[in-house]
């Protein structure tokens, strides 16, 4: 359930970029209105400063006292500054200084940073150590202080200052290139190239340069903005070439006249902000264009089925017992889960119904992507926020959960309905001691004091077979093994004596020997506490071991539900038979069965099981649809 991360702000490397054509990237960039606006603005600003002599006849450096603080007029379209120089001319010529200075700084940064990063990342060893040290050193010094020193030592020269600023920015380029190279270096195709005897120079040119190109261009765009900012800061302080018009020196002049004519700030300030923002936004847009996954790959697509309007009518599931809900602990009817995607709505769970009785173990079986985990999370209200969830009935111990608010639901979660996850190591909060994580819900739900909760938790840890509970209580998650972490998670799940335990493939991520122990533990806890259990699994061995009843899911819908003996002895649905057969052959089912559910309709009809429920029918007759609150990952 790990979603692809598209919110990365650190300029991560996407090796796939190298494979994409440059033309494709450019096309994507030009489809982005922000990028186009930025490009147009930057082109206009560059052209205006390039053709400054054509746009104004005024000399930006010529001052005339009579025009001091002159208002806008034909002669001075934007007025005159404090010493009577033409504001428009200074704005246009000032653009040259800013853009050229920034270009110079970026060129220096790239010329130093790229080769150093390539060598350090590719060859490592002493050069890497030394250059990394120098780069850390440069990054720790405030740039403007260094520039002040350089200017006072060498003289007031804007371009020299910008060249030095380029040196100060080179660690940023260096670090980016170095990190990219190190990550590509480990790729198989680079290894293969090395083994096949390509020279280092060739490998760098053919395989590494294309990968670092994109992040460098993105960073260059942002460094251009930075260069303009720092340069104007220096000029604002009165440093830099005195005769050269620049936006920073215009702001300096405006500052001198801040009480008499503060509006002098507006034009250079605007030019500065617009140019820098355009560079920054262009950098972001470039990243989006290169990171194609940002647009399409956001939604979970695992096992999703696209709902086609007017699709073939679904076959009713094979339900091999009366849906007697009198002693039911949990009744779920008509659960539908879908996700909005660019291609329309993807339905991953479609009209699922299931029942768990008190003290009963229900196996929820199906291959990857059949929607069984989605069903489990939907009951807990833990699906991602973008999931669209509807149920006609979600009743736990007589209470309709679908209509509960967050606070009310939190009184059930962890207290009466508990959850055991699949992957133990990623399900413990890495920043908190295990004891603290276990104590918090116990105190909240059972109202115990800190000491009581601690005693109870230590007892639980011992109960789940941890030989040294005191040590584990104090440990951080990274200090214990996966098998132990799963025991901790089981202890956490049963800590408040829940009536229903939902376990999502609780043994899949464990070693075979540990699997058996964890299953034993779950069985003994279940019978000791008479818990109802929903055991999500794809393993019929586990089902045979633990379950009383089995519900089989395929592509988001229930296809068969029967007591475990009956299901094993006489599977009714072809999909169930296929799953069982593949288990017997000791191979896990790999891909979705090509047999559609329509084909199986005849089989189901032939058997003619009593109590068959058409999910669609339920939806209609019940007439209500609960849209449950989901609080999973955003």
């Amino acid at each position: 359930m790990k979603l692809p991360d598209s919110d990365d702000t650190t300029g991560a490397v996407a090796p796939a970029v190298a494979a994409q054509g440059r033309a494709g990237i450019l096309r994507r960039l030009l489809r982005n209105p922000v990028a186009v606006t930025c490009l147009v603005l930057l082109a206009l600003i560059s052209l205006a400063s390039l053709f400054a002599p054509l746009l104004t006849s005024q000399d930006p450096a010529r001052s005339s006292l009579t025009d001091s603080l002159a208002p806008m007029s034909g002669k001075h379209p934007l007025g005159g500054d404090g010493v009577g120089r033409d504001v428009l001319a200074r704005l246009l010529y000032g653009g040259r200084t800013s853009l050229l200075g920034a270009l110079l700084a970026v060129a220096v940064a790239v010329v130093i940073g790229v080769p150093a990063g390539l060598v350090a990342g590719y060859y490592r060893k002493w050069f890497d150590a030394v250059s990394s040290w120098v780069s850390n050193l440069l990054m720790a010094v405030p740039a403007i202080i260094v520039l002040l020193v350089v200017m006072s030592a060498v003289g007031q020269n804007t371009y020299l200052a910008m060249a030095v600023f380029g040196v100060l920015m080179s660690p940023g380029v260096f670090r980016l290139i170095r990190a990219s190279v190190i990550s590509v270096r480990e790729e198989l195709y680079v290894d293969a190239a090395r083994v096949s005897g390509l020279t280092d120079a060739r490998i760098i040119r053919r395989h590494i340069l294309p990968v670092v190109q994109a992040p460098t261009i993105i960073q260059a765009a942002q460094m251009l903005g930075l260069g303009i900012v720092i340069q104007s800061g220096l000029e604002f302080l009165g440093l830099g070439s005195a005769t050269q018009a620049s936006w920073g020196s215009m702001l300096n002049d405006a500052f001198g006249n801040i009480y008499t004519k503060p509006e002098l700030m507006v034009w250079p300030g605007l030019a500065l902000a617009v140019t820098v923002a355009a560079f920054g936004l262009l950098g972001n847009a470039l990243r989006d264009a290169l990171d194609g996954t940002a647009v399409t790959g956001r939604k979970p697509s695992r096992g999703a089925t696209t709902r086609k309007p007017g699709a073939e009518k679904k076959a009713p599931p094979v339900i091999s017992e009366a849906q007697d809900t009198d002693d039911a602990l949990l009744v779920l009817e008509g659960l539908t889960v879908s996700y909005p995607t660019a291609q329309g709505e993807k339905t991953v769970v479609d009209g699922v119904c299931l029942t768990v009785r008190r003290g009963e173990v229900l196996g929820l079986v199906g291959e990857s992507g059949s929607g069984k985990s989605q069903t489990a999370f939907a009951i807990l209200g833990l699906l991602p926020r973008e999931a669209q969830v509807a149920t006609t009935r979600l009743e736990f111990d007589g209470t309709e959960l679908g209509r509960l608010g967050r606070a009310a639901m939190n009184r059930y979660r962890g207290h009466r309905i508990a959850y055991v996850p699949q992957e133990p190591m990623s399900n413990l909060d890495p920043s908190f001691r295990i004891g603290a994580q276990l104590v918090e819900p116990v105190r909240r739900h059972l109202g115990l004091s800190a000491a009581e909760a601690r005693t109870k938790t230590l007892g639980l840890l011992e109960r789940v077979g941890i030989s040294d509970p005191e040590r584990v209580f104090r440990a951080y998650p990274h200090q214990i093994s996966g098998g132990m972490a799963q025991r901790v998670l089981i202890a956490g799940a049963v800590s408040c004596e829940p009536d229903l335990l939902i376990a999502d493939e609780p043994t899949t991520a464990l070693d075979v020997t540990v699997q058996a122990e964890v299953l034993d533990l779950m069985r003994s806890l279940q019978s000791e506490r008479n818990m109802g259990v929903i055991l999500v699994t794809h393993d019929f061995g586990v089902v045979a071991d633990l379950c009383d009843r089995v519900t089989v899911m395929q592509t988001g819908a229930v296809v068969e539900s029967a007591p475990v003996d009956q299901l094993f002895a006489d599977p009714q649905h072809p999909y169930t038979r296929m799953l069982l057969a593949s288990t017997l052959e000791d191979a896990e089912p790999r891909s979705a069965l090509s047999l559609s559910r329509t084909v199986s309709a005849s089989a189901a009809g032939a058997v003619g099981i009593a109590g068959t429920t058409d999910p669609a029918g339920v939806t209609n007759s019940a007439g209500i649809t609960n849209t449950g609150r989901q609080e999973g990952p955003a």
Binding site: M1, L3, D7, T9, L137, M139, A140, P142, I144, I145, L148, V150, M151, S152, A153, V154, G155, Q222, G225, G233, L237, L251, A254, F255, P262, M265, G269, L272, V276, A277, G280, L281, N284, F377, L382, R406, N410, R411, R413, G414, Y419, P421, S426, N427, D429, P430, S431, R433, E440, P441, R444, Y476, H478, Q479, L489, G492, A493, G632, P633, A634
Partner: protein, 313 residues
């Protein structure tokens, strides 16, 4: 942890030393002639030679540097070539001004970027857009431009807060707070933008983590989930960005002090730099780099405290 701390302190000292040496070399080896500036254009060659000897400039570079370093280790940073004032005591007078605005800006950045970043990550939608917009603006509008706008609009036009001057904390706490509010705010805009963006990004990642879902399944309160668990896990990455931003804050102080007419280390750096007053420049550089080093070590400690893998492992 102790080893880690010692290593960081040593690395910091090395940094200060390297920067001091480079600065001294730059100031000493380049062509400009400060003695001529001090005694004036009309002075005789004899006067120049005498002044040169008085300042010790007739000695070889290495000897001069050795003297400076020996004195500096004992807390004596020499005296200004122009005013003759002791650099150490003038820095002592000016440091509180700079420290006030820089540390206030750091505090404001930390608090506001956390609030904005968490809110954007949790609420998404319109608020998220606002934070993204702020990130672009914070990048595009340099701190001195923000300072100019604040000074004109809030300081002069509205008159809500003083546009110039500094009130020492010892004189009046309220006055001090009022005098540093605008400088600190304008200084922090860029840092807030960058750090809020990082807080948002890490919070979004953490909120997607498996353990957050498992914590939710335990029925703990949303407040504990967000502020105890998720924020704690998102904090280290944000702290790294904030530490980098602090370097920018120190640099930004130089410009912001000028706008608000604050007589701090930054404005001293500007004037001494343009005069070529080597002892003052050296003093300012050493103090500023040391400030960056100290704050970075404190941030490293906070990072280690937040991240058990660093602390325990």
């Amino acid at each position: 942890m102790i080893v880690f701390l010692v290593r960081r302190v040593v690395a910091g000292l090395v940094l200060v030393l390297v920067i001091a040496t480079t600065t001294f070399a730059l100031m000493g080896l380049t062509g400009s002639d400060p003695v001529r500036q001090i005694v004036g254009q009309t002075a005789t060659q004899q006067q120049v030679t005498a002044k040169s000897a008085e300042l010790g400039l007739d000695q070889p570079f290495v000897v001069r540097y050795g003297h400076w370093l020996a004195d500096a280790v004992h807390g004596n940073l020499g005296s200004s070539w122009f005013s003759g004032e002791s650099v150490t005591s003038s820095l002592e007078n000016k440091l509180p001004v700079t420290l006030s605005i820089v540390l206030a800006a750091l505090l404001v950045s930390a608090v506001l970027s956390t609030v904005l970043g968490v809110a954007a990550a949790v609420r998404r939608g319109a608020l998220d857009q606002v934070v993204q917009l702020l990130a672009v603006l914070g990048f595009a509008v340099p701190s001195f431009l923000v300072a100019l706008v604040f000074a004109v609009v809030i300081g002069v036009d509205l008159g809500w807060l003083p546009a110039t001057g500094y009130v020492p904390l010892a004189d009046s706490a309220g006055g001090w707070l009022r005098s540093i509010t605008l400088p600190a705010l304008s200084l922090s805009v860029g840092a807030i933008a960058a750090t809020a963006q990082q807080v948002r990004g890490s919070m979004v990642d953490v909120l997607r983590a498996d353990y957050v879902r498992t914590l939710r399944s335990r029925g703990i309160s949303e407040r504990s989930l967000l502020f105890r668990h998720a924020l704690r896990n998102a904090a280290p990455a944000a702290l790294t960005v904030l530490a980098l931003q602090f370097i920018g804050l120190v640099g930004g102080a130089v410009v912001v002090e000028k706008v608000f007419g604050l007589n701090g280390i930054g404005s001293q750096a500007t004037s001494a730099g343009s005069q070529g007053d080597t002892p003052v420049v050296m003093g300012v550089v050493v103090v500023m780099v040391a400030l960056v080093v100290v704050v970075n070590i404190l941030m490293d400690l906070a990072y280690g405290w937040l991240n058990p893998k660093v602390r325990v492992g």
